[in-house]
């Protein structure tokens, strides 16, 4: 995706990596998120991407070597990544294997909710502790929807 220049190929690889991440979620016992990942990302978002790619029908652009600064930035970022790994490796004692809790155990609302695989836990969290952000997200989606409508509408008027 990063190396290839064709956006369609890129999008395909992207789907691949998203599905991979979903698999990792499954491994981490976050089944709900994995499903969500597949549905929203691989299902909706990437389809949207592909749709736009097709719609715009962008050609494969001419190759242009990146600037020195870009290369330097890339190097630095890779270096940082390496540094992070080294830092992680330095402290093996901080990495105990987390134990999994029984998925059916329901948490009480006062104490921090323990990690549970069941979907009910998400419901509890969303409608209690994260009520306000949840509402805000709803608002955000609404705003995004209106924004998209306005964006597409305005340019149509102008182009006519």
């Amino acid at each position: 995706m990063v190396v290839g220049r064709n956006p369609v190929n890129g999008a395909m690889f992207m789907i691949l990596s998203l599905v991979g991440v979903a698999g990792l979620f499954v491994l981490l016992n976050a089944f709900f998120l994995a499903v969500l990942q597949i549905l929203v990302y691989a299902g909706a978002v990437m389809v949207l991407f592909l749709f736009i790619v097709m719609l715009l029908d962008v050609d494969v652009v001419s190759k242009r070597s990146p600037g020195n600064l870009t290369i330097a930035a890339g190097t630095v970022s890779v270096f940082l990544l390496g540094l992070g790994f080294v830092a992680l490796l330095d402290r093996p004692q901080m990495l105990p294997e987390p134990t999994l809790l029984a998925p059916e155990r329901l948490p009480s609302l006062e104490t921090p909710m323990a990690f549970v695989t069941g979907i009910q836990a998400y419901g509890y969290s969303l409608f209690t502790k994260y009520m306000l952000p949840f509402q805000m997200t709803g608002l955000l989606l609404l705003v995004a929807m209106i924004g998209i409508i306005v964006l597409s509408k305005r340019f149509e008027n102008k182009s006519v």
């Binding site: 600037g67 600064l69 870009t70 930035a73 630095v76 970022s77 940082l80 540094l83 992070g84 830092a87």
Partner: protein, 615 residues
Amino acid sequence: MDWTKVFLSILLLPLVAALVNMLFLRRNGTTAALVSITAAFFSMVLAMIALFKCTERYSVSFPWLSLGDFQASMGIYYNPMTATMLFVVTFVGFLIHVFSVGYMSDDPAKGRFFTGLSIFMFSMLGIVLADNLIMMFVFWELVGFSSYMLIAHYWNTEEARSACKKAFIMNRIGDFGMLLGIAWTYWHYKTVNLQALEVFSSQPGFVIHGGIALLLICGFIGKSAQFPLHTWLPDAMAGPTPVSALIHAATMVAAGIYFLCRIFCILDAQTLEVIVWLGSGMVVYAGICAFAQTDIKKILAYSTLSQLGYMAAAVGLGFPGLALFHTTTHAFFKALLFLGSGSVIHACHHEQDIFKMGGLFKKMPLTTALFAIGTIALCGVMFTSGYFSKDAIIEVAYFKNTPVFILLILGAFLTAGYMGRLFYVAFLGSPKSQNSEHAHESGFFMLVSLVVLAGMSLIGGYTQGWAPFARQLVSGELDTVHHQIVSLQAEGLFSVLGILPWAIGFAIALLFYGIGAKKDALQNHLPSVYSFVNQKLWFDEIYGFYVRNVQQRFADILNFCDVVLVGGLLVRGTAGLVGVVGMMARSLHVGNIHIYVYWFLAGLIIYWSFAMGYF
């Protein structure tokens, strides 16, 4: 009889009249005049009833504002002083109202004028009745305001424009000191009630604070136009003549003297000394200045200043009763003189220069005769009212303070001199201008008030005829003076001194100026002396210089600093700084998304090193 209601009616009737005039009768001058006169008349009647019937001290007080430690009240304190002044103010005020009907008959803004007169009466009566310093200050300021409005009556003339401003500001300067004095009194004596102060001061162990007294008399200096705030008074002649009469004779300038008498109990010896010298200095200074004036009203204005000097000297010598006595008689004859001059001016079609008058005795004999009565009363000719009051003050000075005595005698001599000059030049001889040739006797309203005032000028000095309660004010002090003079065996001296100054003054004026002179003899023969006198010791010039070159410059410099430093450097500078920061921030926004990525990376590095504890 419920005296509270009586006094309140005296006070509020003019206010009601003023309100009615202001709200409904702006265009209907004649009705407005009627309303004001009615109010003044009933005020006068009630004041007379009080004078004869209310024979005890009377006080009543209403709380007016209370905020923690600060308690202000409005109230009435009635004592012989109040009785006398009430009568004088309402009586002279009423006559001036009557006179105004004739004098202002053809003025288009009669409604406004009578509104002003009524407000003036109201504020003046407020001062007279006030039972505490705060209330007095309230009305004190109101008097200043109403005189401002009255002086500004002919508001389209340049003189009125500057005169009214000057009068108000000069008064304000005096009030500034008075305000500080009141604040100090409030906390030092813990009361501003006049009666309470009287009671306190009579208690043993009471120490008068000199600083307070000095601050308080600033109010007197401003209102009574004493040195160095006297310059507004001659200029105030820009107003209509009845106003000049009201301001000079009965009320405004007398308010200063009245105030001194009211707070006499908290004036200390040094302050009294100051007052004496202010007063006696003014007697001579104003007397000399009067010689260089050709405007009939300005001569009278300086004469007022000089007479105020007598009153101040009396207070300063410790005889407030005599000061009020002179205030009373002065109110009569000075009102007479002003109204007489108004009658002359009216007849001469607003010609005010005495060297353009002349021969008026033929055209308007009654006015001339009445004016003559006023003149002799002012000069203290035997058996007129002025004689009694003025001589009493001179006698006091004789046994109290010799230099002051000499100054006062000199003042009496000067008075006769300039009044003689005025009378000979303006009334005798032959007409010197078109205007004076066509002069005619004034109408009924003007003459009637002149006649009454002339009568009072002649008999007002016989205190035996006063109401007993008011006589308490002067009888004691007159007796003291009499005993002193008898014990010093100076009666003979005073029988001579009672005649000598005015006789010599009149004689010299007659010889020097001659009858019906066309030109000022002093200007002809001694031009240098004349011009010196005409400069009036350069007070106006000094104040003018101060205002133009000191105060205004200072203000301009501060304004410049404000605009340039605060407004320019600080504000624009801050705005500029913000702008620079903004420009720097904008240079980061190059529009290329890759650049933002670099910033992102830089932020990442900083964050990472922070997380690793390198910072």
